[in-house]
């Protein structure tokens, strides 16, 4: 199942040119760029593994694309996403987060039902396949 997490996830995969345009936009807003990867795309798995350090002082998207290419070489079969962090006062949050690489085979999810105290039913998702 093609997971739909983050910006643009309902669109077809972004090309390198499109990723570069997005990063240029991020840099034009003075946001920091971070690359993260994981092999576990559960929706509650918020903290993916960081690739290198967040990039605060770049002026051009080429630097990020270089890091992205290295990440793809090292983890080509994992989910890779790009985060953009806005550090201005009042925000201090991730402003954009979009997936730039998906594994060849994406897992799907199964809904799990559990009875807790007093027949209270709790639901969760589990990855399968």
């Amino acid at each position: 199942m093609r997971i739909t997490q983050g910006c643009f996830s309902f669109l077809p995969d972004l090309t390198d040119a499109q990723i570069r345009d997005q990063i240029e936009y991020i840099l034009s807003r003075d946001w920091a760029v971070g690359i993260e990867f994981t092999d576990e795309p559960h929706p509650r798995n918020t903290y993916w593994e960081m690739w290198g350090n967040p990039m605060f002082d770049l002026k051009d998207a080429k630097g990020v694309m270089m890091e992205l290419d290295e990440c793809r070489k090292a983890h080509g079969d994992a989910y890779i996403r790009i985060n953009a962090f806005d550090s201005s006062r009042g925000w201090e949050t991730v402003m954009m987060s979009f997936i730039v690489n998906r594994p060849a085979h994406e897992p799907s999810f199964r809904t799990w039902r559990m009875e807790a105290d007093g027949r209270h039913v709790r639901y969760t998702h589990e990855m399968v396949g």
Partner: protein, 306 residues
């Protein structure tokens, strides 16, 4: 909307005006005193880049020109300043995307232990992408006599990036002329990648005099006639002293002159007006050790008396 047909002619003069190249070259003429061969070379480079741009517009085959440069000259001759202007020029002509300058020396590129150099150099390169990387004293990268030196690694990475990422980055290396020659002959890969070698001559006494006037003017001071004559003599004498760094030595000398002026006005304890606050007199300059037999920088510390 149908696409615009490719133009058949290009007016180079119009391009020169519209692309902002003229402003930069005029700024260069105004702000940098002397450096005639440098300005000439930069003008020639600008013409080359304009023509190349025109060729691109007319759809003629083109390859990205090699823009890496080497600036050779003594310290204080304006290499970093010109590199900054060059970054602006290349940006106006569309050869670098962002036009910022990242200025590094060997310490920013070379690590202290195995495995440290590559990430360090890559970080610097990432920051410099889209602009100009200025490597000062580039020859320190190469230390053949120390086998535990990791400069060679940085050199390899640089050479690769200079060749493969010519669209993204322009590298300018700077340093003393003779040492740069030795560096290039030991690392021939660089010489073939660097298209423009620009020499920065030492300033003449007259040019240094004008520079000192310009520096003071920028800070809102003037030299009175006695001070101007003393300054001219100071320049002549300072040149003979060791560690002469052209414009930088002048700047340091002027800072010390301002210090002496401040002390003079303070000890006189008189009421000062704008004019006296802004005037550097002969006395402020003559007090320098340069007039009384030399700076003797290396031997100036008094030995402890046992």
């Amino acid at each position: 909307m149908d696409g615009d047909a490719a133009p058949v002619t290009v007016d180079l003069r119009a391009e020169y005006e519209s692309s902002g190249v003229r402003e930069i070259l005029d700024e260069l003429d105004r702000e940098l005193i002397g450096l005639a061969p440098v300005k000439q070379r930069i003008r020639e480079t600008a013409a080359l880049l304009l023509v190349d741009r025109a060729r691109r517009q007319l759809g003629l085959a083109h390859e990205t020109p090699t823009l890496h440069m080497s600036f050779t000259g003594n310290p204080g001759t304006g290499k970093t300043t010109v590199a900054l202007k060059m970054a602006g020029l290349l940006h106006r002509l569309g050869y670098v995307r962002k036009g910022h300058l990242v200025s590094v020396t060997r310490d920013d590129l070379v690590g202290q232990y195995i495995g440290h150099t590559a990430p360090k150099t890559k970080e610097v390169l990432k920051k410099a992408m889209g602009g100009v990387l200025f490597i000062d004293e580039a020859y320190y990268l190469y230390k053949p006599d120390n086998e535990r030196d990791y400069g060679q690694e940085a050199i390899e990475i640089l050479l690769q990036v200079m060749e493969n990422n010519r669209d993204d980055l322009v590298v300018i290396m700077a340093g003393y002329a003779d040492r740069m020659d030795r560096f290039f002959s030991a690392n021939p890969g660089f010489r073939s990648r660097i298209a423009h070698h620009i020499e920065f001559p030492d300033y003449s006494d007259e040019e240094l005099g004008r520079i000192s006037g310009a520096m003071l003017g920028a800070q809102g001071y003037v030299l009175d006639p006695g001070g101007a004559a003393a300054m001219a003599e100071y320049v002549r004498l300072r040149r003979e002293q060791p560690h002469f760094a052209n414009a930088r030595s002048i700047r340091n000398a002027l800072d010390r002159a301002r210090l002496r002026q401040a002390n003079r006005l303070f000890s006189a304890a008189a009421v000062v007006d704008a004019k006296s606050l802004s005037t550097i007199t002969e006395a402020d300059i003559r007090a320098s050790r340069v007039f009384s037999g030399g700076l003797d920088i290396d031997g100036s510390r008094r030995k402890d008396v046992p």
